[in-house]
């Protein structure tokens, strides 16, 4: 195999795992789920971007950010600002005192589109901003923290405080941001109605492909020397430093990559869900995203996706069926995963699933069976639970 391609796919095992997930997301879900449920899966998958980023920076880099919601939110807000401007054309806002500006600005007696919003008329600028704004913030935080060797718990707490600050700011500046309600009622993307079922289906696929893009980039990073350096840094930071590496710059890089992934997720969230609010920026959503990565397996890019799907599905299912039990379950699951299965679903699969699969293979006398069928249960307990979805 081409070595570069191999790096992206992560060898035979990696390619199979990817194929399984791709089948699940690109074929099985769209066929088996109705538009409404599929849109929900689409929403879960936007969180998976964050989880994938966390695998890189937390699992491999040892940097536990409790403020990934900040980047998710910034990406989402950039996209939402563009969409909101498009939804606020003078015609559909003619009942306002100042037509042509977003409705919440009108309620806040703002009579002119603020400077901050002006560039978001351009889709090109918006796409750039979706990535650039969070990455620049991550860069600033990263430079400030890692160059000064703020590590471990300190970093976690500081990122958490940043999440809080941003939430308070967004809520406080409601003329600019829509406040606690967020930016709502997003309708079209360059004239294309994003609320239709058909457009939601297209968005779902765009989202899925972007997610796979991020996973492949993640794989490429991990397969490179940089990936090995990350792990080396996590375990023996001093050694790496005294081998002549600028440890901080690697941490900053991986933190920025995680921020960029989160931001893409946020932007796709705004597109698919149709609004953005500060409730995805704060501390609680940020930690929940860590849960997705932890449950899926902090060392597994694919596991992170399963984690995001499983936890969110569980959240929807249990909060519908046993609302009382949900928090117990979520908390308990989290404690159990952290304490006993630090490598999450992916770790369980590695330690038990493969063995079991091996046994199965040996039993079946026809080893020539097409590989994907035999490995479909890669996510392990996952498909069984999701079957009740439709």
């Amino acid at each position: 195999m081409n070595p570069t391609l191999d790096k992206f796919l992560g060898g035979k095992q990696g390619a199979i795992g990817l194929a399984v997930l791709a089948t699940l997301i690109l074929v099985v879900f769209p066929l088996a789920l109705d538009a409404f449920r599929l849109n929900m899966v689409g929403k879960y998958l936007t969180y998976a971007f964050v989880a994938v980023g966390l695998v890189l920076c937390w699992g491999y880099g040892g940097i536990l950010s409790l403020g990934q919601g900040v980047f998710f939110g910034l990406g989402g807000y950039c996209m939402a600002m563009f969409l909101k401007l498009e939804a606020s054309d003078p015609e559909s806002t003619k009942i306002q005192s100042t037509p042509g500006i977003p409705d919440f600005m009108d309620w806040n007696q703002i009579t002119e589109l603020p400077l901050l919003w002006q560039p978001f008329h351009s889709f090109g600028f918006t796409l750039l901003a979706v990535i650039a704004v969070p990455v620049i913030l991550a860069l600033v935080i990263g430079v400030a923290m890692f160059k000064r060797r703020v590590g471990d718990v300190y970093f976690s707490i500081v990122t958490q405080a940043i999440a809080l600050i941003l939430t308070v700011l967004i809520i406080g500046q409601q003329g600019l941001t829509g406040g606690v309600n967020g930016i709502t009622d997003l309708k079209t993307l360059m004239g294309w109605d994003i609320r239709d079922d058909s457009s939601k289906l297209i968005l779902y696929f765009i989202n899925a492909f972007l997610l796979f893009g991020c996973i492949l980039i993640g794989r490429f990073i991990l397969a490179s020397k940089l990936g090995r350096l990350l792990m080396a840094m996590r375990d023996k930071e001093e050694r790496v430093r005294f081998s002549g590496y600028d440890v901080a710059s690697f941490k900053i890089f991986v933190f920025c990559v995680a921020a960029a992934f989160s931001a893409i997720g946020g932007a796709m969230f705004a597109l698919q869900v149709g609004f953005m609010s500060p409730s995805f920026v704060g501390i609680v959503p940020s930690i929940e995203m860590v849960i997705f990565a932890a449950v899926g397996g902090r060392m597994s890019l694919l596991g992170a996706v399963y984690g995001a799907l499983l936890v969110n599905y569980g959240k929807t299912y249990f909060s519908e069926t046993f609302p009382e039990l949900w928090l117990y379950l979520m908390g308990g699951l989290f404690i159990a995963v952290v304490m006993y299965f630090p490598n999450g679903i992916a770790g369980l699969w590695e330690s038990h699933g493969r063995k079991w699969l091996g046994k199965l293979k040996r039993q079946s006398a026809t080893p020539a069976k097409p590989v994907p069928v035999a490995t479909v249960p890669a996510p392990n307990s996952q498909p069984r639970e999701l079957e009740s979805t439709p």
Binding site: I221, L226, D235, S243, Y245
Partner: protein, 253 residues
């Protein structure tokens, strides 16, 4: 230190002058002067708490000096960042073997290869024939050729020490600093290590901290005795061993 032009006196590779560091008033290193010549093997000895490891920490930038200067090939190290010091040609082995245990010996050595040290350099680093050749060469040097594809945590304690030395050699440093390289080694391994040090000190200076006097004797060109952060004595092993102040410090209490 002006020198007449034309006549080239060998300038020390490392010149430490007036070096002081204090932790909350306690002076771990106190107005220290130390010069190491090219191709010299220098051993620093001294009782526990004499400040030996701190000196290494100061040279490689792990600890920042309170006062004084450290000149390495005419560059002032006290102002430089750790990885710049390494890139300038200073390698350091830690007291406990510090290797990447879940990587193979090959990968351990490869990590220290002085290319692809920037973020994007590392991202697009390729295992070229040149890299492989260099790794194999070093592996032979440190007697680990047979274990090249073994995971590093399966090595013996002594082999781990060698591996770390090998990782430093990958960088081809002008100054190699080793903190207790034979601690925990068998007699046989000690002898092998001494041979290794002799081989690798060709073309570079080596600064060693060691307690094992036999070992020191077998490798040292010159010995420096530290006591309470100051140089107590300096010279050949024999001269130092017969120095009454040294005897007082080692045996007096």
């Amino acid at each position: 230190m002006s020198q007449p032009s034309g006549f080239k006196m060998p300038k020390p590779v490392l010149a430490i002058e007036g070096l002081t560091v204090s932790f909350d008033g306690f002076k771990a290193v106190d107005d220290l002067n130390l010069y190491i010549d090219r191709n010299e093997v220098r051993v620093v000895i001294g009782p526990n708490g004499a400040g030996k490891t701190t000196v290494l920490d100061l040279i490689c930038g792990k600890t920042k000096a309170t006062a004084g200067s450290i000149q390495f090939e005419n560059r002032e190290l006290t102002k430089m960042r750790e990885f710049d010091i390494v890139r300038a040609g200073v390698g350091r082995k830690f007291q406990n073997p510090s290797i990447y245990e879940n990587l193979t010996v090959f990968e351990n050595l490869e990590m220290s290869y002085p290319k692809g040290r920037t973020v994007f350099g590392a991202l697009f680093f390729k295992r070229s024939a040149e890299v492989i050749e260099r790794v194999e060469q070093i592996a032979a040097e440190i007697m680990l050729t047979d274990n090249l594809y073994l995971q590093a945590d399966l090595l013996s304690h002594g082999q781990k020490q060698w591996l770390e030395i090998g990782m430093l050699l990958m960088q081809d440093p002008a100054l190699l600093m080793l903190d207790e390289p034979v601690a925990g080694m068998s007699v046989n391994e000690r002898a092998q290590t001494a041979e290794l040090l002799k081989r690798i000190s060709q073309g570079r200076s080596v600064l060693v901290i060691e307690h094992d006097m036999e070992f020191v004797k077998s490798i040292a060109h010159k010995v420096t005795v530290l006591h309470q952060g100051k140089v107590l004595a300096e010279g050949s092993m024999e001269a130092v061993q017969s120095n009454p102040k040294v005897i007082e410090v080692y045996l007096g209490h």
